[in-house]
Symmetry: C2
């Protein structure tokens, strides 16, 4: 029903947006992401291609907060991230859960297209340092409950920013 | 801790298992999978590569039950499936949610390896006609709450079995 409302395309066609990668991002209750990464390596033979972390911010924290660990598995990439109540609010979902990262050069156009199709944008597009290994990121919830992170292509994966 | 218990590998190394594909499978409350597929086409430009359905089983059902629709998106494949209380019990998860299909030629070995790493096998390996587009399928829940479907490679995608 929303297609008729699209302003930036023809009456029957919305703007073309191309995506360069799809990466499931597994949210894990902090600080278990590092353990989860080890499990996926041992259980499935996943290979870690990079990890972005925050340093310990509290003396009692034994492990750094994993913003995003990138794992190569079966020709695909998955991301594993610590999620905590008091951190990374822009990628926080309702509890832990899998979100789907879609990379594109045009974050705003992609979000606009998804919204015109019936998705709901959540929050603002921000400069993220957690989701999808950095870059700009916005969030769209689809009508079926799944959260899609629309983000600019990962360019800094593997560079620890901590 | 479980690695020492593995019988089919060396004391420090478990059997090699290779995976040929990773496909996030989005479970959607039946009968909304067809709508979800249309949404992903419109919102993200996903291309449908195949769909396996059950025929209508009740006169009041307006749409066939989608066992698995295969969508190509950003160089990856996602699966979209109707999930209902009274059907496809072998892939039923707690409510709707994303599961991760891992394809391999050796389902049993892959499950054994995941279990030795700390995963929990759920149910028996069965001949599935829903998950991952047919073939043999087993289920492993990892210590972080994610469900992995370990299945033989999809060979029948696009062939409607109804």
């Amino acid at each position: 029903m929303a297609q008729e409302e699209v302003q930036n395309g023809g009456p029957e066609k919305v703007a073309e947006v191309s995506f360069t990668a799809l990466k499931p991002q597994l949210m894990v209750e902090a600080p278990k992401a590092a353990d989860a990464v080890q499990f996926y390596k041992t259980a499935f033979g996943a290979v870690e291609a990079g990890r972005t972390v925050y340093p310990k911010r509290k003396a009692e924290q034994e492990q750094p907060h994993v913003l995003s660990a990138q794992l190569e598995l079966a020709g695909s990439t998955i991301l594993v991230s610590d999620i905590a109540d008091n951190s990374t609010p822009r990628v926080k979902t309702e509890g832990t859960g899998c979100v789907l990262c879609l990379e594109t050069e045009d974050v705003e156009a992609a979000i606009a297209k998804a919204v015109s199709a019936g998705g709901v944008a959540e929050g603002e597009v921000t400069e993220g340092d957690g989701a999808c290994c950095g870059g700009r990121v916005g969030k769209v919830k689809d009508p079926y409950g799944y959260v899609w992170l629309i983000c600019s292509p990962a360019k800094k994966c593997g560079d620890a920013e901590a």
